[in-house]
Amino acid sequence: MKKFLAVILSVAMVIALAACGKTATTNSGAKTEYKTADDVPDSMTSKDGKYEVSFVTDVGQLKDKSFNQGTYDGVKLNAAQNGRSYKYYQPANGDQATDDDRYDAMKAAAEAGAKVIVCAGFMQGTALEKAAKEFPEVKFVFIDGWSLGLPNVAGICFKEEQCGYFAGYAAVKEGYTNLGFCGGGGGTNPACCRYGYGFAQGAEAAAKELGKTVNLNYSWAYGASFSASMELQTMAEGWYQNGTEVIFACGGSMFSSIAAAASANDKYVIGVDSDQSFDSDTVITSALKGVGEAAAWAVAKAYDGTWDEIGNNAVSLGAADGATGLPTATWKLKNYKVEDYQKQLADVVSGKLVIDDNYENLKSSENLNLIIVE
C-alpha cells in the first residue's frame, strides 16, 4: 500500500512538473510574425538561457487586465516581433512586496542577461535606483516614473488627467449625473490622482455645458494594494444602490469587485489603462493610456541607438503622442458620439484645451458636488 502510494505521488509530481515546463520555444534571432499580443505566449524558453528584454511587474498580478498586462503586452509583442528573448518577473510577496523584493527581481533579470528591463509602477523608484547603479550597462525603462539622474534609466509618465477628463466628460454627456471614482494606491499614487482629478474636471466641464449638477463619490478606500476585496465590493454596492450610475474603477484588479457590484445592480463601470470592455458587459468606456506602446517604443530606442534621447530623462506622453484617449473601436455610448470625442481629442492635441494636472486643486463647484468618502 505504501509503495503504491509512493508511486502514485511521484507520477503525479512528474506530470505536474512536466506541465510547468510547457512553454513556447522561440528560436532566438529568427523574426516571427505576430500581430497581436494575445498570440504571444507569456513565457518562452530561450536557447542560451538568457533573456534580453525583461519586465518587472507592479503590485497586483501580471494578468490584471489593466496596467501590468497592458505594459507586458507591449514588451512581449515587441520582443517576439524582433526575435528577442523576453521574460517577466513578479517581485516576491505580491501586494506586500518591499523594495528589496523589487530589487531582487531586477537583479535576477539583469543576471539572466537582460539588456533592457522595463519596470512598471512608480513604487519601483527606490529599488530601481539601486539596481541601475549596480548594473550600469543594463538599460531600465521606468513606466509611470521620473528621471533618476542616471543615464541608463528612462522615466516615462503619462498625462492621465487627459484620458480621465475624456472619460468624465463622456459619462456626463451620455446623460449620467451620479458618478463614482474608486482609485488605487490610497491617494498617494500620482498617476491615479491625475486620473481622478481629470475625471472630475471632465465631468464638471460637461455638467457646465448642460447646465446640470453632477454628484461625484470620490474614494481611495480599499485600494491601497490595487486588489479586489469584499469591502470594496460592499462600498461600490452601497453607492450603486444609492443612485450612482457609473463608477470609474481606477486601479488594476479593483476592477473585478466594482464590476461585480455593477453587474448586480445593472449599472456601469469605466475601465482604466487598457480597453476593459472585453472583461465585462458593464464597461461603457475605458480611460486608455498606451503603456504597452510606450514600453515598446522605449525598448526600441534601447536597440536602435537613440537611447540617449530618453535616458537620464523623463518624458510625459499625452494625447499629442497618441498615448491617452478613449477606445473608439469598441464605442458603446449612444448620446455621446465618437465624432464629438474626436473633436475634443483634436482640441487637446492642438493645445486648445489644456487640462490641469495639479491634483491638489480638486474641489467642488456649482456644477460638481464632490463627496469624498474616506
Partner: protein
C-alpha cells in the same frame, strides 16, 4: 435598510456555516484549526467547477437563453463539488489526528499552510496568473437571483420584503441557512447527534456503551470539511465575484472566533455571525447607509473617523468575548487523541 440586510447576509452566511463546521469537528473531539485552509481549497474547487461547466455547450446555451433554473443547478453542483472535495481534503486531518494520534492543532496548521500554496500552485499552472476567474461573465449575471429572474419587469416595484430577500440575492446563501438549520437539529435532536457529542465529552464512556469513537470522529471531521469547503465557495461566489486566489480574507479564522464566541452552540453562533456581519457591513459601507430612508447618511455626516467604523467589528467581538467568555465551555475531550487503553 435593504442594503444593510443584504450585505449582512453576504458576510454572515459563510461565517455561520464555517463556524458550524467547527462545531461538528469539535463536538466529536477534534479541533479543526484547518477551517481556513479547507475554505480556500473548497473555494478553488467550486470556482474550478464553474470554469469547467462554462466550457460545456449546454451551460453556455442555458445562459444565452436565460434558463435560470439550469444556472442555479450549476451553482448547486458547484457547492456540492466544493463540499465533497473539502471533505476529502479534511480526511488528511482526520487521518493524522485520529489514526496517527498526531497533535490536532499542528495537523490543522499544516493544512492551513498547505491549502493556499497548493491552490496558488494549481491556479498558476492552469491559468498562468494569480487569480482564477470565471471563464466568461461575472458571478452576478450568471448566478444572482434578480427581479427579472422571477419574471418581473426590470422597473417593477416589489414590496420591501421582495426587494430585500428576492432581488439581488444568491440561492447559495439561502441553501446554507437551510443546511445550517437542518444540521443544528441533527446535532441536538437525533441519536447520531447525541453520539457524536458524547465522543467530544467523554469518548471512553461512549466507547464502553458500544459507540465506535473512531467512526464518529471521522464523521464529525468529514461533515466539518464538507461544510467548510462549501462555505469557501459561497464566500467566493458572493464576495469575490466567483474567483479564487488562495485567500478567503481570514474568514476561516474569523469563523473559529465566531464558534468560540457562540459557545459551540448553533443558535448563538448564528447570532454572533449576524452581529459580526452587520458591523463588517457598516465598516465598509457606512457612507451609503441610510437607516430611516430619509436621504440623510447619518453615519457619514456624524463626523466620526471612518477608522472607528473599521475597528468596530473587532472591538465589538473583544467586548462581547470579555463578558461571555466566563461561561464559555469547550467540549471536554477536544484535542485529546482517543486512546482505548486510557479507559
Amino acid at each position: 435598510m435593504t442594503f444593510i440586510i443584504q450585505q449582512t447576509i453576504v458576510y454572515a452566511v459563510p461565517l455561520m456555516i464555517v463556524a458550524l463546521a467547527g462545531v461538528y469537528a469539535e463536538r466529536s473531539g477534534i479541533i479543526n484549526l484547518a477551517l481556513e485552509g479547507i475554505m480556500i481549497f473548497g473555494a478553488f474547487c467550486g470556482v474550478m467547477f464553474v470554469n469547467i461547466m462554462q466550457g460545456q455547450q449546454w451551460v453556455l446555451n442555458a445562459f444565452a437563453q436565460k434558463q435560470y433554473g439550469l444556472l442555479q443547478l450549476v451553482e448547486i453542483l458547484a457547492m456540492l463539488t466544493a463540499a465533497i472535495l473539502g471533505a476529502v481534503f479534511s480526511l488528511l486531518l482526520s487521518f493524522a489526528s485520529i489514526n496517527l494520534r498526531a497533535d490536532q492543532t499542528i495537523g490543522g496548521t499544516a493544512l492551513n499552510l498547505l491549502a493556499p500554496a497548493l491552490v496558488l500552485f494549481l491556479v498558476r499552472l492552469l491559468t498562468a496568473q494569480n487569480t482564477l476567474f470565471m471563464s466568461t461573465g461575472d458571478a452576478a449575471s450568471w448566478f444572482m437571483l434578480k427581479k427579472t429572474t422571477f419574471g418581473f419587469d426590470k422597473d417593477a416595484e416589489l414590496s420591501f420584503i421582495g426587494n430585500t430577500f428576492l432581488h439581488k440575492v444568491y440561492l447559495a446563501n439561502y441553501l446554507c441557512i437551510l443546511i445550517f438549520i437542518i444540521l443544528s437539529i441533527i446535532l441536538y435532536k437525533t441519536r447520531f447527534g447525541l453520539r457524536l457529542r458524547s465522543c467530544g465529552e467523554n469518548p471512553q464512556a461512549a466507547n464502553s456503551l458500544g459507540i465506535n469513537v473512531i467512526k464518529m470522529r471521522y464523521a464529525g471531521t468529514t461533515i466539518s470539511g464538507a461544510l467548510a469547503g462549501m462555505g469557501g465557495f459561497v464566500y467566493a461566489l458572493a464576495a469575490a465575484n466567483c474567483s479564487s486566489n488562495g485567500d478567503v480574507a481570514g474568514f476561516g479564522f474569523l469563523a473559529l472566533a465566531v464558534m468560540i464566541f457562540g459557545n459551540w452552540n448553533p443558535l448563538t453562533i448564528a447570532g454572533a455571525s449576524f452581529l459580526f456581519g452587520l458591523f463588517k457591513c457598516i465598516s465598509a459601507g457606512y457612507s451609503s447607509i441610510d437607516i430611516n430612508m430619509d436621504g440623510v447618511y447619518l453615519l457619514r455626516e456624524i463626523g466620526v473617523s471612518p477608522h472607528v467604523y473599521r475597528m468596530l467589528p473587532y472591538v465589538i467581538t473583544l467586548i462581547v468575548l470579555a463578558f461571555t467568555s466566563k461561561n464559555s465551555r469547550a467540549p471536554k475531550a477536544e484535542g485529546i487523541p482517543y486512546d482505548k487503553s486510557m479507559r
